[in-house]
Symmetry: C2
Subunit: 336 residues, 2 copies
């Protein structure tokens, strides 16, 4: 990889590197002619400043790190698109990393981002993460961090989340209002903030309509088909099986529907299903899946804006961190 440097320009033009540097960035007053010559020559030989050298010098990279559990998940890939729009417009780059829902990978990613001198980190926690020392440490070093979607209470910073409580409430209420009497909930990892909030919403809806809360109907579950299949087996084996299931994520909804179909359960007659998903294809399902959608793109954008503001802020005044809760949308696709 041969490269054009400031030195090459200086040599060719019989100038010092500092003059060239100044001409290039027009910072110091420099003779207009010199400036012109330099700029033209730079253009001609297609000079590009080396961001690595800059990073080393300035100890920052004009890029932010983004850690998501998984890219192959519509919610997160849409959130990333939101993030990229913002950071791109503000002259930054986004480095995307996946934790694959693994705590260990998350820690490694965090460390790597730190050593890469990203200017800030956007993160949505892995399902396995309970200990957040790696993030606290990072924050203590002065790295701005913003959570989106999945956060930890133990870190004081901006958080951008969906109104999971309300979303779960609406989903459950919808099922109640459609006449369902025994509504199960398949939830994700118990440690996640979203899981707790959604369970609370589910409970609140049952309470409001004075339905009994049966904790055996709440199943924490991994994403895989086998796990969900097991859980559904348990639910169906119950002497008083549910007539509806509220599933807490894209993956869970898909696995749930698959398992139910495999077991030849009539959806929605025997069991109605509502999801908390960002599946843009749910309307094509048989039957179409009602679902609570999160504003993924907007969540990414909001989080990115908050992070960049943190990064670029001048004032030394103490920061008041915000938790921004974005509304979810209940999309009813099947009168079940």
């Amino acid at each position: 990889m041969e490269t054009v440097t400031i030195k090459d320009i200086a040599k060719a033009l019989n100038l010092s590197t500092s003059t060239v540097s100044r001409a290039l960035r027009g910072s110091y007053e420099i003779s207009p002619e010199t400036k012109k010559v330099v700029l033209e020559y730079a253009e001609k030989i297609n000079y590009r400043p080396n961001p690595i050298a800059l990073s080393l010098k300035e100890n920052r990279s004009r890029s932010i790190g983004v850690i998501v559990p998984e890219i192959d998940n519509p919610f997160f890939s849409q959130a990333i698109n939101g993030i990229e729009t913002i950071v791109y417009n503000r002259g930054y780059h986004a480095l995307i990393f996946q934790s694959y829902e693994s705590y260990q990978r998350e820690v490694i990613n965090v460390q790597h981002l730190a050593s890469r001198r990203v200017d800030g980190v956007l993160i949505s926690l892995s399902g396995q993460t309970t200990d957040i020392d790696h993030l606290r440490e990072l924050q203590d070093k002065g790295m701005p961090i913003v959570f989106f979607d999945r956060f930890s209470d133990e870190i004081n910073t901006h958080k951008v989340i969906a109104d999971n409580f309300d979303g779960a409430f609406k989903a459950t209420e919808h099922l109640i209002k459609s006449g369902r009497r025994r509504i199960a909930h398949i939830a994700a990892s118990a440690s996640l903030s979203i899981t707790k909030e959604r369970i609370n919403g589910y409970r609140a809806a049952l309470n409001k309509y004075q339905r009994p809360i049966d904790d055996t109907l709440i199943k924490y579950c991994g994403y895989s088909l086998v796990e969900v299949d097991n859980v559904i087996g348990e639910l169906l084996a119950d002497s008083n099986p549910p007539d509806a299931i509220f599933t807490a994520s894209d993956r869970l909804a898909v696995s749930c529907l698959t398992a139910l179909k495999n077991k030849h359960v009539d959806i929605p007659k025997q069991i109605a299903v509502v999801g908390f998903t960002n599946l843009k294809v749910a309307h094509l399902f048989d039957p179409p899946l009602s679902t609570v959608m999160q504003p993924a793109m907007e969540m990414g954008q909001t989080a990115a804006e908050l992070l960049l503001d943190l990064i670029e802020r001048k004032s030394k005044a103490p920061i008041t961190y915000q938790t921004i809760k974005l509304p979810t949308e209940m999309i009813i696709r099947e009168s079940c």
Copy 2:
């Protein structure tokens, strides 16, 4: 962002930075005690080498650039997962960029990757790209490039692709064998390699079964619902409308099904649909969508391996570039 450097270790231990450096990487023979002391102290104060300094010094970054049209697309996000497995295991990092199907964004991404000193580039071309000077230039500078999925003939390098011809052939053949007589094809951007190959496969199947080829049944089309909706309107308005559609991508299939449903077309009775998609949820559709799946993960892995081999190769012997064609799998989900 306060940071621990080699200098800090040297100072604390009354050594020179070079000694510390050597101890840390165990390269030169160094007294075992010194080594031990250094390693322990480094561990203690949690020293992490600065990859930026290393990049600057070695003019390489131990990272590769990945440019895909869009992350919010199961095929590409799965391919990225394949890529990451490989590069991670071989001590590299993947920087992921999206062209959003835009030629301009692709050029910018390529330039940015170059200035970032990535060690190589994996790319799947944008739908808009016809001119590939930006890549040729990059290759001329010595940057290893490997194409996956969408390539250009004008660049001589490794290419890892799906057997698009065969996939399209199988899809079309399936429709013919199920008794369809007039099969339309909704294709993506005309400039893409995958588009041409799939059209060829489609044609070959029609030829084999001595069906007439009617070019008005081949529609190049953008991904959006409106565009596909228009195209379907045209097809249906035909005096002799098709009784089957072979769609060339995830997005096209989804838009196509949506449009058909909006128009109350009976699928598959009136029109059967087969896709070329990596949708893991197609079996939940009404009716379940038959589809040709590409080995996304494997494609990513293979491409990444080839790229890393190029990056790490010692020999100066001329390289023989390969084009690796991976088999697709026809998944029949509805007897239409």
